[in-house]
């Protein structure tokens, strides 16, 4: 093979080849090519984003583990801690939607139970193209089935999600999966730091096959017309195996038999072994002849690069091996000693009696390239002095979006997910926030996803801020204090300065709010090169936030509950936007103003205190399509409302303003709520009264039945799902 061909095969650039020569003091040989290809890929090394990720806020006292480990962990008090993380599986899901999405769920679960936490909740953030785009019904159906097929079988409830549709995802969908795991009081946190020369390296779980070879480097490339030919790089999952792996791993950790543990995710055995050794400042000897394989013809390179699913690598003291083997055997799984920890910082790989590689692990991990790719300061091109008109009548503003793919019910998706296995679910996917019960303290843990692509298309900085603040307010509206955040930075080609500029702007916006709200960013991943034939996806920094509710009273509803109650709008209005109307072609994308963290902090406090004082019976943060549409959503439970006699300008009902929250309040509590809001510099504007079976806004009135019909029809039929 010529050098050019070799570089192409291993997806290594000419410049990086030169750097490898400097690092090694010679050209790479044999298996080293594959190791550099995997570990220096964008997917494993974060080489384009690392210098920006280092700036992220993660210093809060409640953070127990963050970047560098398989998942972040935060302290909830009372002995309870949670691990959580979100990860993308965009490229594989576009190639093969069922397996791509399924193994995305499997992979993120392993990141969680690797830490010693039992997975208690799943969520997924999905972006699809237009309904009519080629293969889109196949992709939607396949992804949803894949997520359900895996999550339902392993027995972890999917409690929330978000699904967006936009043409920018026509040829590069986004599939981000989030998992949360719980450490109950007394349970230990485990890490991936290899320790103790003479300790054993143990391979557990499924056998290694040829699936997923070169998966990490594939995920670091743009798509072309040839995505079909990349199918062999997609992994195949087996959730039954994973379920047995969860139980056996948690059992050996409970018996304290494990020194360190890491799952074999991207770049499989390569990344797990090198990263564990590098973190521990030790070496490892790996004997590939001992690795359980599915196919006797498999090569050493394939063993090292395989992304076969449901496998873990653990380190134990020699005396523990027998008991570990027993526990895994009980669950029908293999546990095989494949090497040992070495004092010298060298990873030594042998196969068929031959030493294939002897290399300092830091050369592949710590010495990986880092790029400060060119970008510019953010200039907010769509910011304007006045807001352009939105071309929609009041009745259509309430009803219209319900019948579109942007505002429709997502029931056809979440009905395919088991939302209640585990028997701790309090609020399922129907609710704006997923909620599970913490069994030892009887407190409530909330989970919500953020990032609204329509705002990212408007302004990357504002959209980044919104990815933090909107979900934080959603949590607060139901009495939850946001505690920490994970993210998936789905962006296009970082080698294009305009894309890198968006990445830096969005991260800047996110970080500013994370710091002010003390919501540390504790985990996540970066998915770049989400482009096909030079067309980039909307920059989409999806987020997942957990929050805690320490209040015994019932959680407010998301729909109006009873007649003759006041409907108030709590306002900290700082930015006016034309919002999602742009997606329908009814407005020009523009906004006025800028966000002020202190004011919004007051709104968060007001909402949580209103929950503590039990002042509100239902609430909803006004989201996409503005007030009229969001009031329509609140009527879908069957209880209507009528606006007060005073007349608001038409823009009041339709523009998207950041931020406002609708609340339903018993008349006897209005004064208490108003004085609470006043103390937090939040405006509490009375806009209506509940009652009847219609939504009456000024002179327009719509029957709730009609709202429901629109809300429930449409999307499922479009995707052959109804």
């Amino acid at each position: 093979m010529t050098l050019e061909a070799k570089l192409g095969h291993y997806r290594i650039s000419k410049a990086e080849f030169e750097k490898i020569k400097v690092v090694l003091g010679r050209e790479p040989e044999g298996l080293e090519w594959a190791l550099f290809s995997a570990l220096w890929s964008e997917h494993c090394s974060y080489k384009s984003s690392k210098i920006h990720l280092k700036k992220l806020y993660n210093q809060s006292d409640r953070v127990l583990e963050s970047f560098g480990e398989n998942a972040g962990v935060i302290d909830l008090g009372e002995g309870e801690r949670v691990a959580f993380k979100m990860e993308s599986h965009n490229h594989p899901s576009f190639i093969e939607p069922y397996q791509g999405a399924a193994t995305g769920v499997g992979g993120i679960l392993r990141d969680i139970f690797t830490m010693g936490a039992r997975p208690i909740a799943l969520a997924n953030y999905l972006c699809f193209g237009q309904v009519k785009a080629p293969r889109m019904d196949y992709l939607v159906n396949g992804v949803v089935k894949g997520i359900g097929g895996y999550g339902n079988c392993v027995g972890v409830p999917t409690i929330t999600g978000q699904t967006n549709f936009d043409p920018s995802y026509d040829e590069n969908i986004l599939v981000n999966a989030l998992a949360v795991g719980l450490f109950r009081p007394g349970e230990n946190i485990f890490t991936s730091v290899a320790k103790g020369p003479g300790n054993l390296v143990v391979y557990v779980g499924a056998k290694t096959g040829r699936d997923g070879v070169h998966g990490a480097s594939m995920a670091s490339e743009s798509f072309d017309d040839d995505s079909e030919s990349k199918k062999p790089t997609v992994q195949i999952g087996d959730p039954f195996f994973e379920k047995c792996l969860i139980e056996s791993c948690l059992e050996v950790m409970k018996e304290d038999l494990v020194v360190a543990i890491q799952d074999m995710g991207a770049a499989g055995l390569t990344s797990s072994s090198f990263e564990m050794a590098s973190k521990g400042g030790v070496g490892l000897r790996l004997d590939l002849d001992k690795v359980p394989v599915r196919d006797s013809e498999i090569t050493a390179e394939e063993i090292m690069l395989s992304e076969s699913q449901e496998r873990m690598l653990l380190i134990c003291e020699p005396s523990r091996l027998k008991r570990i083997e027993e526990v895994f055997a009980k669950w029908g799984l293999d546990a095989v000693c494949v090497g040992e920890v070495l004092e010298d910082r060298v990873v030594k790989i042998t196969h068929e009696g031959e030493t294939l590689v002897e290399i300092d692990p830091d050369l592949l991990t710590e010495s990986a390239p880092q790029y400060d790719r060119p970008y510019k300061d953010w200039s907010s091109p769509r910011k304007s002095e006045t807001l352009p008109a939105i071309d929609v009548r009041l009745e259509q503003a309430a009803l219209g979006p319900l019948a579109t793919v942007h505002g429709n019910s997502r029931e056809f998706i979440y009905q395919q997910y088991d939302q209640r296995v585990g028997a701790q679910t309090i609020k399922d996917c129907q609710f704006p926030v997923g909620v599970v019960r913490l069994p030892d303290s009887d407190r409530r843990l909330g989970l919500v996803l953020g990032c609204r692509p329509h705002l990212m298309r408007m302004d990357a900085y504002l959209g980044g801020q919104d990815s933090v603040i909107y979900p934080t307010l959603q949590l607060a509206a139901y009495g939850f204090k946001a505690l920490a955040l994970t993210d998936c930075l789905n962006f296009g080609n970082p080698e294009k300065p305009e894309l890198m500029t968006e990445l830096v702007a969005a991260l800047g916006g996110m970080n500013q709010f994370c710091e002010r709200f003390d919501v540390p960013i504790i985990s996540g991943n970066v998915s770049l090169y989400n482009e096909t034939k030079d067309r980039n996806v909307t920059s989409t920094p999806s987020t997942g936030l957990v929050g805690l509710r320490d209040i015994e009273a019932p959680i407010p509803a998301a729909q109006f509950q009873a007649a003759n109650r006041k409907v108030l709008l709590l306002q900290q209005t700082q930015v006016h936007t034309t919002g999602a109307w742009c997606d329908l072609g009814l407005a020009r994308s523009a906004f006025t103003g800028s966000l002020d963290a202190d004011g919004l902090f007051g709104l968060q406090e007001a909402l949580i205190e209103a929950n503590e004082q039990q002042l509100i019976s239902s609430s909803r943060v006004v989201g996409r399509f503005g007030l009229a549409y969001n009031l329509a959503r609140m009527c879908l439970g069957g209880m209507g409302m009528s606006s007060v006699a005073s007349s608001f300008p038409s823009e009041f009902w339709v523009s998207e303003r950041l931020y406002e929250v609708i609340v339903e309040v018993d008349p006897s509590q209005v004064q208490a709520l108003q004085s609470l809001c006043q103390s937090k510099q939040v405006t509490a504007l009375e806009i209506g009264m509940t009652g009847g079976d219609q939504l009456n806004l000024e002179s327009s009135s719509i029957k709730i039945d009609q709202l429901l019909n629109s809300y429930q029809a449409g999307v499922g039929e479009s995707f052959g799902l109804a």
Partner: protein, 213 residues
Amino acid sequence: MKKIGVLRFLGTNCDRDIWQAIEMVHGQPEWLWYQDQFDPNDYAGFVVPGGFSYGDYLRSGALAARTPVMKSLQEAAAKGKPILGICNGFQILCEAHLLPGALVQNEGRRFVDKWLDVQVSTENKYFGGADKSFHLPIAHQDGRFVADNVDDLKSKGQVWVTYQHNPNGSFDDIAGVQNESGNVAGLMPHPERAMAEWMGGSDGLSFFEGMVS
């Protein structure tokens, strides 16, 4: 406290939920591992929990039905001990021929998770109490009950609960059946997920209370 045996197979995933439910009605749960046998006399009753035993390979419940623990469960059934199978547990009891009929893929060929209403068709003396209807969640892919002889089952009082709105194409809206003597019963809905108001309802309580009282 009455001791209730909870069966665990590889892939069972509602086992801890059943444990919680039995504790909520003040029973004493105990694990029964699929490779082990047990003395039926040591227990007041048994629950076969839901999940995906053996990944639903071959057919849902088929592999679990042929494990050592089921030999003891057969004995327990013959001795008249109350046995409740839920979801995959129901599928296992059918595969073990402790219950009539079979559960096949939903008519819509998709997994369905939702709350719905079921009614008691013929009362069971152990499970479900005297209530005539229950609000319970379902979550299954293979929940469509089929049998050659539904009229026969009806006349023998073996049709236990039925759906108000059939979610999966089950024959005669059947959601749960019982054996002729009523000590073995299975249903697709999950009563262990409806044990308290915070779960969304507490209609599931009576499915466990009978066994421990």
